[in-house]
């Protein structure tokens, strides 16, 4: 082992290494700055944008409070008010709460893992540009009096019958933004599992990493059902397929299920990463390790799971049988156990340590106080009979704001104060921090505490005004005053962030005396991120090894240099973080902008039903993505292996399950499979609610065509697997022939899939049954088309020498896609062809 120490560092070599690193990781200058993909730039843009949308949504919130300050107010018309509160909720949830998690994680995760960057920097950048365009599109609609107005959960039939394009903007704009969320989930899960520094076994991973991993996984199971729901909803709005229309066999409750299967876990998706900030900063300010690291991991995993068993508690008043309510009520109570554990761990850590007074800690304590209050009202509304009384009243508004402010906003601000030096090299002001905290804390409670009472006195949500004699006047006025006090506090915080900083504000190194590895960074941080990729031996390396920063500065860990002039970081094994590969990550590019803009075109043109432009934009987007993949991924390295320091040599190219690309495909397809299962759920939901489903009088697709489709597509799947094996065995001609035959069979498979419902004249506008069959066929067909593109991409790669027996990552990933797709085809054909035979 080459333990550092005795031999003195060569200063010239050190300077030379730093010069090379600076050159390789240089941030582009001038207008090219916007082509940057490094996490430190993209993360900051992401955060600023999310906060921009938050301020916009906050102003909408203030408009709501102005309107409700006095009874019978005419400040806003009823219709404008509907748009304002819908956009307030929508923007806060979809454009702030979830994206800010992605933003903070993209910015911080590499630092926490001692990595130079995340494994797919261009994917982060692509996600960011999607988010920016989609967010501006959704928010901008209100200036044209065209914003969605059906509430942030868009319930049909109100929203399916809504005449304007507001609902379409919501559906398509947010679907587009969900692309960014799933991209971030892929990036972050792979980041935590594969890009931890050598030696960071899972039991040494910073708690923030655990939370990010769990939240990333939750996104994969929570967002896709909403994407499936959005698809059905838009098919109904654009093409009159009656999924939610009772008169034609649909049911609005299907939307509620799909929405809340997403919506409730989403609450925890925004809560857990913010609480994760507390898990990082509380030990620092208590100046001791967290009391109960394993309990936090337990509670985070437990919360992640149980949060998926709560969705029906949003539907307690829809007339479901008591037994259904009972199960969800029980789970809603059970989730309080792991959530409580986290809070107790923080309290225990604070009690056992010597607390250092600071602004982040003040926010953390405020967060705990507010969150506990919100949690307790949560336990109240989880009890179905109480919920029957409080449902759709201001009590629920108070509850949800308490959980979101206590569970998300305050911890987030605490984290921003804490991590501000890592992002910028400056400290935020202590004095302004105290001011902003007390204004926000007091303002928040003045605004929302009375709402519990307003709700219990009977004031319903979403009313644009109320009569003067109902006893709500003083409470509403108090709430409105509180909202403005809160806004003042928030502006103090915004000013503090944006004000020009002087020498006095410069952060010294490890300003809070933290123990975790992110504080090893230089202040101000360098564009290259980590000077070298550290070797981890404990949870708090900076506390446990007084020499750690010196060793780091001298480049005595891994990858202290960039000799080949490439951006490099290390990937490691999932459990024990043994080095696997020296991963070369991509640098600045414009292709992500082209891909995002053209994909935006697909969604935006579809909103206005400009179908030719939609298709054109889709084709351009596909071309951009293919160009991106062809030029930027699975590049052949100039040598097989590289010495990364400390006597470790690792390969530069890996394929299959060791590679980050394989993991990205696996994770993406897991999410994709969940969306598909959302559609399958739709089919069986209709079966459940109808005494006769599939209806006897409506023809089905028969079993012959679905079986044919299965055989054709199964053969295409087998040929893809064959192509991978033959290519690896060096039989490249056989592999190429398989990659020619595969797509041909798949094209025939698409035709056979469609032939079933088509030849039996199934009209999707007639009834929910043909509509859901067509939706499944559409899904399977579109995925087959994607599979064909991938097969052809590999064929082209093989012919061009990009895909060789030695460098076969592409075909490995495509085969993985086809495994998932094969399952989709099996389930689709069994359901549409087989189920009518047995039901």
């Amino acid at each position: 082992m080459t333990e550092p120490g005795p031999q003195p560092i060569d200063e010239d070599l050190k300077a030379e290494q730093e010069r090379r690193l600076a050159e390789v990781w240089a941030t582009p200058r001038g207008w090219r700055y916007w082509s940057a993909v490094n996490n430190s730039e993209v993360g900051i843009w992401y955060m600023m944008t999310a906060f921009g949308f938050m301020l916009f949504a906050g102003v909408l919130g203030l408009l709501i409070r102005v309107q409700l300050a006095v009874p019978e107010n005419d400040f806003l018309s009823a219709d404008t008010y509907n748009q304002v509160f819908t956009l307030h909720g929508t923007a806060m949830m979809f454009l702030f709460a979830v994206p800010i998690f992605e933003a903070v994680a993209i910015l911080l995760l590499p630092a926490l893992l001692g990595a130079r960057d995340l494994p797919f920097p261009r994917l982060s950048a692509f996600g960011y540009w999607c988010f920016l365009i989609g967010g501006v599109f959704v928010c901008g609609s209100i200036f044209f009096d065209a914003a969605p107005s059906g509430g942030w959960f868009m319930y049909p039939p109100l929203s399916t019958r809504d005449g304007g394009i507001g609902a379409d903007i919501w559906l398509l704009g947010l679907s587009f933004i969900e692309v960014a969320s799933i991209a971030a989930a892929v990036e972050l899960i792979v980041g935590v599992l594969k890009c931890r520094p050598p030696g960071m076994h899972l039991n040494l991973t910073p708690l923030y990493g655990w939370y990010v991993l769990i939240v990333g996984a939750m996104i994969l199971f929570a967002f896709p059902p909403l994407i499936a729901g959005d698809l059905l909803f838009e098919l109904e709005r654009a093409f009159d397929w009656p999924f939610f229309d009772v008169s034609r066999g649909g049911d609005p409750l299907l939307w509620q299920h799909l929405f809340w299967i997403f919506g409730h876990p989403e609450v925890y998706i925004v809560f857990l990463p913010s609480i994760a900030m507390l898990a990082m900063l509380v030990p620092t300010f208590a100046q001791r390790p967290i009391a109960g690291y394993s309990w936090i991991v337990l509670s985070a995993i437990g919360t992640g799971f149980i949060s998926f068993g709560l969705w029906v508690h949003h539907m307690f008043t829809t007339g479901l049988p008591s037994i259904s309510l009972g199960f969800f009520s029980a789970a809603s109570e059970a989730v309080a156990i792991p959530t409580g554990i986290q809070i107790f761990v923080f309290i225990a850590t604070i009690m056992l340590g010597k607390v250092v007074r600071s602004v982040p800690m003040l926010y953390a304590l405020g967060a705990l106080a507010i969150f506990v209050a919100g949690g307790l009202t949560g336990v109240m509304v989880a009890v179905a009979p109480f919920d029957f009384q409080a449902h759709d009243s201001y009590f629920v508004v108070a509850h949800l704001h308490y959980t979101l402010f206590g569970g998300m906003l305050f911890p987030l601000v605490a984290g921003l104060y804490y991590y501000f030096p890592i992002a910028t090299g400056y400290m935020l002001s202590h004095r302004l921090g105290i001011w902003s905290f007390w204004l926000m804390f007091a303002g928040f409670n003045i605004a929302f505490l009375p709402m519990h009472l307003t709700g219990l006195l009977g004031m319903p949500r979403r009313v644009f005004t109320y009569a003067a004699d109902l006893g709500w006047n003083e409470l509403n006025m108090t709430s409105s005053v509180g909202a403005f006090i809160f806004a003042a506090g928030f502006l103090v915080f915004v000013y503090d962030v944006l004000r020009p900083k002087g020498e006095r504000d410069r952060a010294k190194r490890n300003p809070w005396n933290g123990g975790t590895v992110e504080w090893v960074l230089n202040m101000p941080p360098e564009p290259w991120g980590a000077r070298c990729v550290p070797k981890i031996e404990s949870r708090y390396p900076l506390w446990d090894d007084p020499d750690y920063i010196r060793k780091y500065d001298e480049g005595r860990f891994y990858l202290p240099d960039a000799v080949e002039g490439k951006r490099e970081t290390i990937t490691t094994t999932v459990l024990d973080a043994k080095p696997v590969q020296c991963l070369r990550v991509a640098g600045p590019t414009w292709i992500t902008h082209v891909a995002a803009a053209t994909l935006a075109g697909v969604f935006i043109f579809a909103t206005f039903h400009w179908w030719q432009l939609t298709i054109l934009s889709g084709a351009a987007s596909l071309a951009a993505v293919l160009y991106w993949l062809w030029t930027g991924t699975a590049r052949h390295p100039e040598k097989d292996e590289k010495d990364i320091g400390l006597g470790v040599t690792v390969p530069l190219y890996v394929s299959g399950s060791s590679s980050t690309g394989w993991w990205a495909m696996f994770i993406t397809m897991t999410g994709d499979l969940t969306a598909f299962l959302g559609l399958v759920f739709g089919y069986f939901f209709f079966w459940t609610i109808h005494p006769d489903f599939p209806p006897a009088e409506i023809p089905g697709p028969g079993w012959i065509w679905p079986l044919t489709a299965f055989l054709l597509l199964g053969a295409s799947w087998a040929l893809t697997i064959g192509a991978r094996s033959w290519n690896r065995a060096g039989r490249r001609l056989a592999a190429r022939l398989a990659l020619v035959a595969g797509p041909l069979l798949a094209v025939a498979g698409i035709a056979a899939l469609a032939a079933g419902p088509y030849s039996h004249n199934m009209d999707p506008t007639l009834h929910s049954y043909p509509a859901i069959v067509w939706a499944l066929v559409l899904w399977a067909g579109a995925h087959t088309a994607a599979g064909i593109v991938m097969q052809l991409y590999c064929l082209a790669g093989s012919l061009a020498g990009k895909l060789t027996p030695k460098y076969d990552a592409d075909i490995c990933n495509v085969t993985l896609y086809w495994h998932f797709h094969g399952f989709t085809i099996l389930v689709t054909t069994l359901i549409i062809g087989g189920f009518p035979l047995v039901s």
């Binding site: 076994h201 899972l202 437990g302 149980i306 068993g309 029906v312 037994i323 789970a331 459990l575």
Partner: protein, 134 residues
Amino acid sequence: MRTEDHQQPETGHETGTDLWRVIAAPSIWAVHFLVCYVVGAVYCEKAGRSVTLLPVQWIVGFATAVALALVALLIRSLWKVRGRSVATQNYSFSGNIPQERHRFLSHVALMLCALSIAAIVFGTIPAVILETCR
């Protein structure tokens, strides 16, 4: 602090408790929960709201028995980890060696078993209390 960590890159597989095993118990809860919910919802939708819940109660009871038995099996195998892997004669699991990672994940998995049992029992209560599909 121990520094026995492997220095050589190993792409080979890692042994001991992994993440799949950690999420096994909550996954059992999830399946139990879904089975109970789906059975209850479908039965009450098809049979009408005035009928007795008896068949659902039997199925939920059976599902609970199976789920608890599976978690018990998991607990049995995890329980052994404490004794078997105590290479260093303590129960520490914050060290930088694969055994301690193994012990740590086993410990978390064990605690998740306890949480899952609580959640499974919680989920059974409605079927015990309610009598009809109302």
